[in-house]
């Protein structure tokens, strides 16, 4: 009889070296695989199968079983003294592996204490083949569920818009319902705190634009038009768009995250039960603060972009400060500047509103807040670009 004997001792290997043998120690445990020929294998366990040695046992036994692919596996538990849930899972795993070769699995010589543990952990039920799984829903059902989900979201957004308009109406009739302190605080967060990054990005943008256009314009000796190009494109288009994008990244996301976490910690419900309109309390100050601050940020953005162009003009194109500024002044009209402000105010309204909407759409859990934040930024940037395109068309034809 070809006999294969595998012996694994598991003793103190799992203990970190600093720990002296104490209560974390395991008894000496082993298993022994005997190949009786004709596809019959007996695995005899002794000692314990527990948290400390289960992984090692499973690895070694599975390897042997894969190699032998037996038709009948008998587990001899006569000398098994200790078994915990890791041990039970080890036995269950062996049963599953054996069944996967269409082999027969048997437990023999089960000592009463071990039998008690196996019963307590429902060994037979654990390894019973799973009852028929619920079939995954039909594609049409999925499609329908998704559509209903989106329709629900749309309905929520429409309701939210209505609520916003009502809050704003109440504010117009009775301006003191606006929480003034909170509005000023949000103005600081959106405006003052956002100024350095807006200024820096606009300055660099002006610099880049001047530099790139100068390469072309130089060929025609039209250096001076760099000033026109930078000032006109920044005040009318890029200033408002860049500022709005930066504010969505900084503030719309913050609004969504703030309101979203308030929603999951029941703070919104608390406001509601106190008879305070959550909308008026949270959305109004944020939207109004953003609406007031973004045009101001655009003003700074225009100034810094022109300064960026000026640096390139002086250092690389041989222009004087005076000629650059005179050209800028003669290109720009007051309409261009105010058109930029108007656009940015519209962007501000939408991006802050979307930030708040996404916050209110949070239902539960930290990942929902994360999703809301991402979605606030993405949808507000999309909205900014869409609105800008619409306004360009309107201005062109009317």
């Amino acid at each position: 009889m070809a006999a294969l004997v595998l012996f694994i001792f598991c003793s103190r290997d799992f203990l970190p070296p600093e720990i002296e043998p104490g209560i974390f120690m395991t008894a000496e445990s082993a298993f022994n695989i005997t190949d009786k020929g004709e596809g019959e294998v007996v695995i005899a366990f002794s000692g314990a199968i527990n948290t400390n040695n289960a992984a090692e046992f499973v690895g070694a036994i599975n390897k042997e079983l894969q190699r032998l692919r037996p038709k009948l596996v008998t587990l001899d538990l006569e000398r098994l003294e200790e078994l915990d849930d890791f041990g039970v899972s080890t036995l269950a795993g062996i049963k599953k592996t054996v069944n996967s070769f269409r082999g027969i699995f048997k437990l023999s010589n089960i000592p009463p204490p071990v039998q008690k543990i196996l019963t307590a952990y429902n060994f037979d039920k654990l390894t019973a083949p799973p009852t028929a799984l619920r079939p995954s829903p039909d594609i049409f059902i999925k499609l329908g569920a998704t559509s209903i989900d989106y329709a629900g979201k749309l309905a929520f957004a429409v309701g939210f818009l209505g609520e916003s308009i009502f809050s704003f109406g109440r504010f117009i009739r009775k301006p003191r319902i606006l929480r003034f302190g909170d509005t000023v605080y949000n103005m600081r967060r959106v405006g003052v705190d956002g100024l350095p990054i807006v200024a820096l990005i606009s300055f660099l943008l002006g610099l880049i634009m001047a530099f790139m256009s100068s390469v072309q314009l130089k060929q025609f000796g039209a250096n001076i038009y760099v000033a026109s190009l930078v000032s006109l494109s920044m005040t009318r288009e890029l200033g408002p768009i860049m500022t709005a994008i930066i504010v969505s990244g900084r503030s719309a996301s913050a609004f969504a995250a703030e309101i979203g976490s308030m929603k999951i910690s029941n703070e919104i419900d608390a406001l509601f039960t106190m008879g305070i309109n959550p909308h008026q309390f949270l959305v109004l100050p944020r939207v109004i603060a953003t609406f007031l601050m973004v045009p101001l940020l655009v003003l700074f953005s225009d100034i810094f972009a022109i300064a960026g162009g000026l640096v390139v003009g002086i250092t690389m194109l041989g222009l004087t400060v005076d000629s650059y500024l005179t050209q800028t002044m003669s290109t720009l009209t007051l309409f261009d500047v105010f058109w930029g402000f108007f656009k940015s105010a519209v962007f501000a309204l939408f991006l802050s509103w979307i930030g708040c909407l996404r916050g209110f759409q949070v239902k539960e859990g930290a990942d929902d807040v994360g999703r809301a934040t991402t979605s606030a930024v993405v949808s507000s940037i999309f909205m900014i670009i869409l609105l800008d395109s619409i306004m360009v068309v309107i201005l062109r034809y009317y």
Partner: protein
């Protein structure tokens, strides 16, 4: 089961805890013995949860020493702390389940990280763990779909995933109705009895204290430290300390 061993599993010596200038606990020393259910109790704001954070190494003490199974975790060595924490399970107040994962995934997470077992064995273990806390059949539920009591039980299943030697629990019965709270107590007793798990529980639920505690440690915010330590029944019947008596008889009273 380990009562006769002479070595405490947790040893706290002259612990000083606080935030900045504000000292919450000082001169706290006590031992927890293997296999016992040890309850830390005291009025709100006395530093119970802070003490628990020190025991699991979430906070470094201002002074003093915390050793678990002979390893000093207050030295700030991450490696030692990790070694120790692998033998500990922690049940946080709200269960602290990961909301983006199903119950089965929550429980499987520590098993996948540390047990080294193949996926099918982990599946069996997850089933057994959920069965342990009477949540069989809830494998594919998200935490948000469960009640507070069920979330705590699932948190307990996750804390017990690797069969830790020590289980720390922060106010396991907070926010639970008396029946659910009694069920939690029953679970603690079962786990302690069947697996010999040492338990350190922060609680101020009198019924739990008398039902499950082998010993209690009572903290008081006025003396910023330990007022009493011992068997809860003996403390209730024999302690001469006015605060201890008031606590057990649920009488309001002026400060010391």
């Amino acid at each position: 089961m380990f009562r006769d061993k002479p070595r405490p599993i947790i040893q706290v010596r002259d612990l000083v805890a606080g935030f900045g200038e504000n000292i919450i606990l000082k001169n706290v020393s006590f031992d927890v013995w293997p296999g016992e259910i040890f309850i830390i109790l005291g009025s709100s704001g006395c530093g119970k949860s802070t003490l628990l954070k020190h025991l699991i190494g979430l906070k470094e003490p201002m002074d003093g020493k915390v050793s678990i199974n002979g390893i000093d975790i207050s030295e700030g060595s991450d490696e030692k702390l990790q070694t120790v924490l692998r033998q500990c399970g922690v049940l946080f107040q709200g269960g602290a389940l990961f909301s983006s994962m199903t119950l089965a995934e929550n429980i499987a997470l520590p098993l996948r990280e540390y047990s080294g077992l193949p996926e099918e064995n982990i599946d069996y273990l997850v089933k057994m763990k959920l069965n342990l806390v009477q949540l069989s059949g809830f494998e594919n539920h998200m935490p948000a779909e469960l009640s507070g009591g069920m979330q705590k039980r699932a948190g307990l299943a996750r804390a017990m995933a690797l069969n830790p030697k020590i289980l720390f629990c922060d106010e396991p019965s907070a926010g639970l109705d008396p029946i659910t709270s009694a069920e939690m107590d029953r679970l603690f007793l079962d786990i302690n009895h069947n697996l010999g798990t040492t338990m350190v529980i922060v609680s101020h639920e009198l019924s739990s204290i008398f039902n499950i505690a082998d010993r209690v440690l009572m903290l008081d915010k006025h003396i910023k430290g330990v007022v009493a330590e011992g068997n809860p029944f003996q403390l209730r019947d024999h302690s001469l300390n006015a605060y201890v008596q008031r606590f057990f008889s649920r009488k309001p009273g002026a400060a010391h």
